[in-house]
Symmetry: C2
DNA sequence: ACTAACTGATACTAAATTGGTATCAGAAAT
DNA sequence: ATTTCTGATACCAATTTAGTATCAGTTAGT
């Protein structure tokens, strides 16, 4: 059971990388090399992020991409929604008419509760928070060289 | 983003159905008809549940399947694990050597936290609980015919 | 004006996964 | 012996996932 697919995974990584260099534009090529993400794949991911307003872009030589918002305003949940759609149970009943199957309904009720939890949690994780965590980790490892 | 696949979904439904008729064996055919689950598909699902000790079976005419345990001891999480593997992040890093990518690590840390939550929640939902919920719902609807 | 470095859009593909079917062998009840 | 069942396993089509390729248009620098 995989929670995140490669699209989401790469997207978040790219967003973190962009967030670490605020103000500057980075080309998809550079980003792909730095992050080890296949170039063409990353291009498509970035385009999707651009379409959804998380990233801004500038065409032409010297162009590239940058975060379009404050990193604290970019939630991992937003990214998941873009690439994996909103969290939902296997073939949501409510699209069809009423729950044909009663047992199903009960199960779904539980699942939706859990889904809400997951959504709320992923909404709490912002790119800004991840960057902060990252910096904290790197400081710690730059400071005292702990056991390794 | 789909949480449960058909295997898990049908499996839980089947387990609930079995749990509702304690003691009696039911054939895969009957179960498939009652629950509207494709016969051959259900057969394979049941075999998997049997292999994993959630269901017991008896071969031959008059045979069939039944729960192998107390419904309260069958967790939806167990079922998910059987059919979808344990919840995990897109390609767990830790199988490879150390996190090659720092940003990744930070993201993964968050995701694993959320995963643990999900796992714990799905562990709390047992077939027994679902059956109890189901009965409660059906009583309510048998009693006062509420607005509809 | 040319060219190199970019993004926009979109078509294509291989491999894996998902959901489902079919078949054959063997066990038990009648 | 025949019917009703499970055990095991092979097969299949559709979808999804991950990744590639191509061409058109934009901008900066010369």
């Amino acid at each position: 059971m995989k929670v995140l697919n490669k699209h989401t995974d790469y997207a978040v990584r790219a967003l973190i990388a962009l967030g670490m260099k605020p103000g500057s534009r980075i080309s998809a090529k550079t980003l792909s090399e730095e992050q080890g993400i296949p170039y063409q794949f990353l291009r498509r991911i970035l385009q999707e992020l651009i379409r959804n307003g998380l990233v801004s872009s500038k065409e032409g030589a010297g162009g590239g991409v940058a975060l379009a918002r404050d990193p604290d305003e970019i939630r991992v949940r937003d990214v998941i929604e873009i690439f994996q759609g909103s969290v939902q149970v296997s073939e949501c009943m409510f699209r069809k008419q009423l729950c044909s199957n009663r047992a199903n309904c009960v199960l779904r009720h539980e699942i939706m509760r859990i889904e809400r939890m997951v959504n709320d949690e992923f909404a709490k994780v912002t790119v800004g928070k991840l960057i902060a965590d990252l910096k904290r980790v790197e400081e710690a490892r730059a400071g005292v060289q702990v056991q390794e």
